[in-house]
């Protein structure tokens, strides 16, 4: 039983290996910085077809196409901001895994800290009042 299991696992591993080797093509970059930029960008950009996957993870046709676009732009010397703007202009804010920190998004990014601050102020006020009361009780 164990032998069969091991065998099937080895078979599976072998096939998944050959499969991933088939889909990956060799990418050449001018500099190692470009390579890092490329990998950062495709992990930061969301696949518009398959939600909850980034461009790096997805094998949807559109994700493959967009990876090629990012690759071409990186090699053409386009800046990160320009590449992100290019994607947002076509697919909307949706494609950014870290949305821009302005407009309604501001509440999403900083709202929790504001609420935390309000809670903290309330907490301090209650503690102070209780301390005052205790003092008054001790006096009387």
């Amino acid at each position: 039983m164990i032998v069969i299991r091991f065998f099937s696992f080895a078979l599976l591993a072998f096939f998944s290996l050959s499969l991933s080797a088939e889909t990956e093509k060799v990418l050449n970059f001018r500099t190692s910085v470009d390579e890092i930029r490329y990998h950062d960008l495709i992990s930061e950009l969301r696949c518009p077809k398959c939600q909850n996957q980034n461009l790096a993870d997805s094998n949807a046709q559109i994700a493959i196409d967009l990876r090629t676009h990012v690759y071409d732009m990186v090699n053409d010397g386009t800046s990160d901001t320009e590449i992100l703007a290019y994607m947002v202009a076509r697919y909307g804010q949706f494609v950014l895994y870290s949305p821009q920190k302005k407009g309604v998004n501001f509440i999403l990014w900083y709202g929790p800290f504001v609420i935390l601050g309000v809670g903290l102020i309330g907490f301090i006020l209650v503690i102070r009042r209780n301390a005052k009361r205790r003092k008054q009780r001790a006096k009387s």
């Binding site: 518009p48 077809k49 949807a60 559109i62 196409d65 967009l66 202009a89 076509r90 697919y91 909307g92």
Partner: protein, 173 residues
């Protein structure tokens, strides 16, 4: 703090809960796959694509200044096959449909149109899908409504049918 204010404060957690429950409830049953197009309200991006029928380059100025539909399709796409009959009906009703043969083989496309009929006023070849990316397309079929001003007013992902068309046609003007 007055006694009245304290009473109100006691209800704060409940009010917060009610508010959140309301927000979450209003989001229930919505299509989670729905993604608004970034191109709504924008003019059609510039392009220069080869026409399948005339073999000449066509740019957006040639598409005229009356409302039309841009339909992305491909012979590789099963849903496009389902959609085709309804597009034929729209075309016979006089709707101007611009077809984009998206990431497809030209020979296959010619065969498809011969066999199934041709609802398109013009078919443009987007073999690499670059125009698709400019339009924010994620697959096929996908249909855009362009109004008389040349502005994109509506985008539908998936099959166009009678029900979808009822909403769509309002955006054509």
């Amino acid at each position: 703090m007055s006694k009245k204010m304290r009473k109100v404060a006691l209800f704060l957690p409940f009010l917060t809960f009610a508010l959140l429950a309301g927000v979450f409830f209003s989001q229930l049953g919505k299509d989670t796959q729905y993604m608004p197009s970034a191109l709504i309200g924008q003019p059609v991006p510039d392009f220069s694509l080869v026409s399948l029928k005339s073999n000449e380059l066509v740019s957006k100025e040639a598409l005229g200044n009356e409302g039309y539909l841009i339909n992305f399709w491909g012979t590789w796409c099963p849903a496009c096959s389902f959609e085709h009959d309804y597009l034929m009906k729209l075309a016979s009703d006089g709707i101007n449909i611009v077809g984009i043969d998206y990431k497809d083989e030209t020979q296959e496309a010619i065969k498809w149109l011969q066999e199934k009929g041709d609802p398109y006023s013009v078919v443009l070849l987007d073999e690499l899908g670059n125009f698709g990316v400019d339009m924010g397309v994620t697959g096929a079929p996908e249909t855009f409504v362009v109004n008389a001003m040349g502005v994109i007013t509506y985008r539908h992902q998936g099959i166009v049918n009678e029900e979808v068309w009822q909403t769509m046609k309002g955006y054509l003007k």
